[in-house]
Symmetry: C2
Subunit: 129 residues, 2 copies
DNA sequence: AAATCATATAAAATTTATTTTATATATTAT
DNA sequence: ATAATATATAAAATAAATTTTATATGATTT
């Protein structure tokens, strides 16, 4: 039951649903998401951590950036995620995506160049070194 | 998004998942659920209200009893409910059901005799008279 | 090597959710 | 009519989650 609860708790927040929606089309770094949602960075990091601990996201280090992406390894989680994404109306997620596109245009080049292997998630929010 | 969030928030609680699991096999009154979960009645009423406001339950008055049952009218909700129920391990829900069976055996007869039509749910927790 | 950038985390402040306790209302039983 | 039962709700107490603010760490650029 614990894992189930973590999943539902992770999905029970507007900010986190918006993050999942943004990641629908592929991985993004924290600053991308921060720009898209127009929020302060520690807040975004907090929510990313909740999603990661629930097993809904995976992260990987890319130079000084940390990339996050959906983890749809379990069919159960996938159903829940898709159900969640289905319910997000266009007017909110559209604005998020517009801010993201604008940010990406002005973003310094050289990003994405030296990504390392995904960091394993031990389910407790602490990285395995 | 509001409705989606209400649904996930409603599912993000162990007590409420246990209630949904109990209602899987049919409607029950508040005292049945209270006995099964071994909790105080106002607590159970509180959680029933959360579930009802999220549109996951319907209620109907049966004499002095108030019966609650799953509302699986929307396919989306149904998927989420089923996903939730799937994840509840047997050892917890089995105990709940044992207490329920015991309570039902000793319950005064005459229940279920004069149920009235389901009370309409306006989505805000207040009954439509 | 110093400055800058991206991110995480810790602590405090705030908000939201849950639980408890007491009580009110309606229904049924005596 | 009175007592007992089933439930809801309100208020207070408690607990949990979120947000803010400040700061630390590691990577990159200059």
């Amino acid at each position: 039951m614990k894992e189930m609860l973590d999943t539902f708790r992770a999905l029970a927040d507007e900010t986190r649903l918006r993050i999942l929606k943004l990641l629908e089309t592929g991985e993004l770094c924290v600053c991308d998401i921060t720009a898209a949602l127009d929020m302060v960075q520690p807040k975004v990091s907090f929510h990313l951590k909740v999603l990661k601990n629930a097993g809904l996201l995976r992260d990987k280090k890319c130079g000084k950036w940390m990339h996050y992406e959906l983890d749809i390894s379990h069919i159960l989680k996938r159903i829940v995620i898709l159900t969640a994404l289905e319910g997000i109306p266009d007017d909110i997620s559209k604005k998020d995506r517009e801010r993201l596109e604008y940010f990406l245009k002005n973003k310094h080049e050289g990003a994405f160049k030296d990504c390392v292997a995904p960091i394993e998630n031990n389910g407790k929010g602490t990285k395995v070194k």
